[in-house]
Amino acid sequence: MFKKVLVANRGEIAIRVIRALREMAIRSVAVYSEADRQALHVLMADEAVLIGPAPSTESYLAGSRILEATRETGSDGIHPGYGFLSENASFAKACEESGIKFIGPSWRAIEQMGSKTAARRLAMEAGAPIVPGTEHGIEDFKKARTAAAEIGYPVLLKAAAGGGGKGMRRVEREEQLEPAMRDARSEAERAFGSGEVYLEKLIERPRHIEVQVLGDEHGHLIHLGERECSIQRRHQKVVEESPSPLVLVKPELRENIGEAALRIARQAGYYNAGTLEFLADQQGNFYFLEMNARLQVEHPVTEWVTGIDLVHWQIRIASGERLPLQQGDIQWRGSAIECRVYAEDPDNNFFPSPGKIAQYVEPSGPGVRVDAGVYPGFVVPIEYDPLLAKLSVWGETRETAIHRMRRAVAEFRVLGIVTNLRLFLELMDDPRFVAGELHTGFLDDFMKRVRQPETDRTSLIASILAAAHSEGARASDLTSTTAPSPVWRTEGRRALLR
């Protein structure tokens, strides 16, 4: 087993890993940029090393500096978390060459999964369903036209080298194909340095369903069921859950999609934790999209329902242990939901909201878990991701989990900066969300139809009284001014004030 592990990340995931290390009696080393001296992951680790200035490229992405810190502290392993260096095959390779264990899959598996077209090819070889489309990037418009006709419109143009919606175009009819292809190529070129695009069948109202796999370095691989991550905004996941509501109505889906995921992962010789992303249509047909060769942000929902600690097992597997769990040992219990709490303003175009957290209270009690990277008084830096915390809950049923999430969100207080927390209150009340009628466009539709809840009259009075109480305490020399002249608009109670 490891003696000391360096955590090459920041924020909530660094803390998640530090906690696991502590639970396994392994010393933890945090790394930090100049902007992060007071960050929570630095406060929580056993040791901490400054690795560079605020920009990620000079700190959390500076592989050689991180390897140096690993040697300097005598660490024998590196956990990369997600993002940053986690899917950087050459960093994983450099670790191997330095004799430091990279806690994750082999660099060859990372490399193979890094290209979407290569991953699709692998899935085809494994006999797993993929979205009908061209296997390779297509340069020639004529070939694209033939392929699109074969696939059947509507089709989707996608960039081979990247994600996040960049270089993506929806094509309804053949005459739209040529201009769309031109646009997509130039956007992809700008975003990823490669203009390679490919064609895919467009699935209407698709659901994003992914499968967690876990395997040891001795060839044994199992899956831990699916997560549904259809609640997204600009291709960023916002709410995730397990089981997928689609599995609740079509229970056979779990085994089928799990088997497909295992076939692909086996084909890649994959080990450690990984996630295979699929698109599913509303009938339960599913198509492999891509593999994330690392721990996923939303791993807690799988931990809730299976009782398997993914980070513990990542570490044990990386230390060479055999995974004793067989597929038949995995049992799913209840429902779990995760909400990602971002520092962004849902009332102001989701603009980021870094700054000082004036008040901070986490929810607690039964069935609630918070994985946070912040604390009261912390100044959320402008340099990094806006994810502040992940709030996940578990319930005996999906309905209970939704109610519990509502309760937990209402307890969660993050003040001083703006967060998207109130969105979750409204989402948990939404009849379509409650009915599990999810698809990747759900959140955009929801944002259009949701209305801010009406202000409760009594709550407004309470607000005014508290503010006056505070002002009165502050400026008690202002005592008993004369009554004001009655210039106030007294339109009486209006409908919005219940």
Partner: protein, 167 residues
């Protein structure tokens, strides 16, 4: 004690008589009401308010001249003053005069797209601010010329900070 309260743009007059932890209040404005409340500051900036038996936890966060008030997950902006300084109000600069372009979010100025004195069209990009990997291009609110640039490339700015003036 009498207060002049502005909440979410609505003005009220509030009379409060404190009597230990209990307060008698009278509110005049869009809502006209009076009653008894129990108030306690349980943490700095956090108030427990009982109206009859109904229970509210109210969080106050100073925000410039105003106070952000959070109750039941909803945010209100409150300003409180006595009658004498009613004059202090944000004057809206009309579209005919000079207009300030302010930062819509805290962040770092990563690019200035215009020069002082340059003529600009309404909607033209003026300046790019970045925070948390998101870029926000601030646009000219009207046709005119750049009379002042307060922002410096590479500097961090607060939300609401004036960046450029278009005249």
């Amino acid at each position: 004690m009498t207060f002049r309260v502005e909440i979410d743009g609505q003005e009220y007059s509030l009379d409060v008589e404190r009597n230990g932890s209990h307060s008698e209040y009278r509110l005049l404005g869009l809502i006209n009401t009076s009653g008894t409340a129990s108030l306690a500051e349980v943490m700095p900036g956090v108030f427990s308010v009982l109206l009859e038996n109904r229970n509210f936890t109210v969080h106050l966060v100073p925000n410039g001249d105003n106070v952000e008030v959070w109750t039941n997950g909803q945010r209100h902006m409150i300003s409180i003053a006595d009658t004498r300084d009613r004059s202090r109000k944000n004057k809206n600069l009309g579209p005919s005069g000079p207009m300030e372009v302010r930062a819509q979010m805290p962040g770092r100025v990563i690019k200035l797209l215009v020069q002082p004195g340059e003529a600009v069209e309404a909607g033209q990009g003026l300046i790019v601010v970045e925070a948390m990997k998101m870029q926000n291009e601030m646009k000219a609110p009207k046709r005119g010329s750049i009379s002042k640039i307060r922002a410096v490339e590479g500097a961090t700015v607060a939300a609401g900070e004036p960046l450029v003036v278009v005249e």
